[in-house]
């Protein structure tokens, strides 16, 4: 800021509009504007509006292929939406901006309210108004009892209310009572809990990770998964602050998988017998049993392991002309989620061939379809149920160069189609096989379909702040209930000796509902009756 700038206001003005002042004024006005209730309302609407594309458009974190398809199908419009982060709404700049502004607004609103809250919690109920009959609710009666009796009975009746008794001019005495302070307390808890929840949620996003892996469900070597690093997973989504170097170690071993189905093939139950090691067990090598089910993940220190899905692994044995045997069990993926008709590719490297060029003519892949409950119609294999009743495969045997050393990444479910297109990988047999059946190739190699085992897909999730989020959410709910359902009420009672000789007392009762007036009428009548008669009304 330069000091030489000429002020636009006359020098005589006591408030010189220096740029610093202007910036200050601007900041102050922005702050005031931001923390006004009206602004909070507008921001709430913007937040709701901004979340809607998250429902209407496919979201990349949830469904990447569908998102890509959508963008491709919508040309420049899709590309534009993509640039504007409409396919990842909840990480977008604009969504974050709205909720950050809302948080600022919330803080700005909460600070002054907290002071006011503390003051009001210490304050005594307000003075009894001079003219009680002007209150929205009012009753008056002359009773036989003495003023002190009436007051004593009132004190008993108003237990639980915050009360203060005062002497007034002219021999009158009064009680001011107020109730429902919990409403404001609930409100404060609610808003602070929202703040805590948002912060815990955001921190969680930094330190969370999620990984998926497929494991054979046989209890053997290929049934063990250890959380030792990113490489152990088939896919891994780390939070911003996770690099995968210090995952909490634990291991699981999948002993089996079982599913139950209705007659219509609808699944009714999935479960998997597993064993696991975590913490000290890893040193001692102890395995502990656990029944892994949908809705019931394995919880180890810091991590949860979920049963996500399952599928089948056909087992093939290749007997080479020289008598050597190789057996492979590679998972195939269900292409139909109802019948579990699956596809995949089981690949074999020829044994004992050291010459790379020769090897590239002898690699084998068994590809095709697997049906757990097979049905052949017109020579085509289909599956009629997800259970393993009558398994069968329909395979193409491919021989040649699988492209294993081409440098391109291989899918475990597919063969490299460009090798087929180049003629370097050729089909040498096509046949349907039941368990125990085999094919013999032209060079005498025998391929047999030995049996089937199951695999499960697991997800490991880690979120260090989720318990805090839950705590804040519960506080928020409790605060909300208090702030909406507790009612603030005021009651005043004034007693004065009746004029004249008798020892009667004139009792006045006034009432005011500070919230939710509608419900106060009957309640006030009841309270006033009891105050006037000095007893409990039935």
């Amino acid at each position: 800021m330069t000091a030489t700038e000429t002020p636009s206001t006359p020098p005589s003005s006591p408030y010189r509009q220096t740029p610093a002042r202007r910036v200050l004024a601007f900041l102050r006005n922005t702050w005031r504007g931001l923390t006004a209730m009206r602004t909070a309302l507008v921001l709430l609407f913007l937040l709701a509006l901004a979340a809607m594309p998250g429902v209407m458009l496919p979201q990349r974190p949830l469904n990447p292929p569908k998102t890509a398809q959508y963008i491709a199908a919508h040309g420049w419009w899709g590309t534009l939406l993509d640039r504007l982060q409409f396919f990842n709404v909840f990480s977008s700049v604009w969504f974050s901006a709205i909720y950050l502004l809302l948080m600022v607004s919330l803080v700005g609103c909460l600070l002054p309210r907290s002071f006011e809250y503390i003051r009001s919690m210490r304050a005594k109920p307000v003075l009894t108004p001079r003219n009680l009959s002007r209150m929205p609710h009012f009753r008056e009666a002359t009773v036989e009892r003495s003023p002190s009796d009436v007051l004593a009975a009132a004190r008993a009746r108003l237990k639980g209310w915050r009360t203060v008794e005062r002497e007034e001019d002219g021999g009158a005495r009064s009680i001011s009572a107020e109730r429902g302070y919990l409403r404001e307390t609930g409100n404060m808890i609610f808003h602070f809990a929202i703040l805590g929840l948002i912060i815990a949620f955001a921190l969680g996003k930094m330190y969370t990770y999620e990984g998926q892996v497929i494991v054979q469900a046989t209890g053997g070597q290929d049934s063990v998964f250890c959380n030792s690093g990113i490489y152990a997973y088939d896919s891994f989504n780390p939070g911003l602050r996770v690099d995968g170097t210090d995952l909490t170690p634990f291991c699981v071993k999948i002993n089996d998988f079982s599913a139950k189905y209705t007659a219509a093939g609808e699944p009714t139950h999935y479960s998997s017998d597993i064993e696991y090691q975590s913490g000290a067990d890893l040193q001692t090598g102890t395995w502990k049993p656990y029944l892994l089910e949908v809705n019931s993940p394995l919880r180890t220190a810091g991590d949860r392991t979920y049963l996500l899905g399952h599928g089948y692994t056909p087992i093939f044995t290749v007997t080479y002309p020289n008598g050597e045997k190789r057996t492979q069990a590679t998972q195939w993926r269900p292409e139909n989620q109802t019948t579990y008709l699956s596809d995949g590719a089981t690949k074999f490297d020829p044994p004992g061939v050291t010459n790379a060029a020769e090897r590239r003519t002898k690699e084998l892949a068994i590809t095709g379809l697997f049906a757990p409950t097979s049905f052949i119609h017109g020579g085509i294999l289909t599956s009629t149920a997800p259970e393993l009743n009558n398994p069968m495969v329909a395979v193409d045997v491919m021989r040649g160069d699988l492209g294993l050393d081409s440098g391109r990444s291989q899918s475990i479910f597919d063969i490299d189609q460009s090798m087929v297109a180049d003629g370097r990988l050729k089909r040498v047999a096509r046949q349907n096989l039941a368990v125990g059946q085999s094919i013999t190739l032209d060079d005498g190699t025998k391929i047999s379909f030995d049996g089937v085992q199951q695999w499960v897909s697991l997800q490991v999730s880690h979120d260090p702040t989720q318990d805090y989020v839950l705590g804040f959410a519960i506080a928020m709910l409790a605060g909300l209930a208090g702030s909406l359902l507790v009612k603030r009420r005021r009651v005043w009672l004034r007693v004065r000796p009746a004029d004249g000789d008798g020892n009667g007392t004139v009792v006045q009762v006034g009432g005011l509902a500070r919230t939710d007036q509608a419900g106060y009428g009957e309640e006030f009548t009841r309270i006033a009756d009891e105050l006037l008669t000095g007893g409990k009304r039935k």
């Binding site: 309302l41 974190p61 949830l62 009714t268 989020v469 509902a513």
Partner: protein, 327 residues
């Protein structure tokens, strides 16, 4: 086989459902007759009420004044009688309705809200019960026909396009959280329906109050605007914490079923939007210039989002909630 479905009970459930719908239609007709011909007796009632309100403004010390509208003793005209019969029919319909729900549960050996048909059956039941509460508490009986209209439409859609035969649910739904989470969602959605409809009438009534030429034939038959506002507020204030509770339970369930407590799945996102809209409704009532009309619009918007969440999100988008099971 785990849970065999009891065909007989499921059949009785269907029968109760259809009959309840038919009785609601009949009650609706009764209420419309009352609404059409009952204007006179209501005017008498309103004059009585107006006298009370005048009394409330005056500082007469011996007058017990309350903001609650007293039970009015209007002369019982024919329309009035028809309206009362309508309420009796409504109660009868609600009894059959609850029977349909219970029988469905007995038939399937699980909680009877595992798919959209059952969900709608339960939501409409809660809406009817909430409305019966409103009729007891506030002089709004003659609006019952309009309240029943969305109920009947929903029940018709539920019973035809979305009808699902009784069956067990998939493994992911086999959890006691189905009980807790979904019943909280059902109860809150059912209650939210009443403020949604009351707010529509509030808009009509207050438009008429501002300019008597608007809705000149219809609006004078509606209860006073502040009454409608109160019905909407009282019901929303109960439904909103319940809804919050339902969302919270959903998150706890999602943590054990899907591997994360919140993942911006379409259903979750829309619940978030509805929650924010209802929070805005509550705030708007505490904000100068937003009370009244704007608040009512926000409340209607909130219910629109709830309906969107039920239909659009279940039927059009694909998400983790999609196994809600349709037809």
């Amino acid at each position: 086989m785990l849970a065999l479905v009891n065909e007989t009970l499921s059949h009785y459930s269907d029968w109760s459902y259809t009959t309840a719908t038919a009785i609601y239609v009949l009650a609706l007709a009764f209420f419309l007759i009352e609404q059409a011909f009952g204007a006179k007796s209501r005017r008498v009632a309103e004059r009585a009420q107006a006298r009370q309100l005048v009394g409330a403004g005056a500082p007469a010390p011996d007058v017990e004044t309350t903001a609650d509208v007293p039970e009015h003793r209007a002369p019982r005209g024919r329309a009035e009688r028809i309206g009362r019969m309508g309420v009796s029919l409504l109660v009868l319909g609600a009894l059959l309705h609850v029977a349909a729900i219970v029988l469905r549960g007995l038939a399937t050996h699980r909680v009877p809200w595992g798919n959209m048909y059952e969900y709608i059956m339960a939501v409409t039941f809660i809406a009817v019960v909430t409305w019966l509460w409103a009729v007891r508490k506030f002089p709004v009986r003659h609006l019952s026909g309009f309240m029943l209209l969305p109920v009947v439409i929903l029940m018709f859609i539920g019973g035809t396009a979305l009808y699902t035969v009784a069956a067990p649910v998939v493994p992911a739904l086999q959890s006691y959280w189905l009980w807790i989470h979904v019943s909280a969602a059902i109860v809150s959605s059912g209650i939210f329906m009443v403020p949604g409809v009351a707010s529509i009438f509030f808009l009509i009534r207050s438009a008429h109050d501002r300019n008597p030429e608007r809705f000149a034939r219809f609006a004078p038959r509606l209860p006073a605007a502040d009454m409608l506002d109160r019905v909407a507020y009282r019901a929303t204030v109960v439904a909103f914490p319940l809804f919050t509770f339902g969302v919270l339970c959903g998150a706890v369930w999602a943590e054990s079923a899907w591997g994360r407590f919140w993942g911006w799945d379409p259903k979750e996102t829309t619940a978030f939007v509805a929650w924010v809209v209802y929070a805005a409704y509550l705030h708007s009532r505490a904000t100068a210039g937003w009370r009244g009309t704007r608040a009512a619009v926000i409340n209607i918007l909130g219910f629109a989002v709830m309906v969107f969440n039920l239909f659009f999100v279940n039927l059009v988008t694909t998400g983790l909630h999609s196994y809600a099971g349709v037809g």
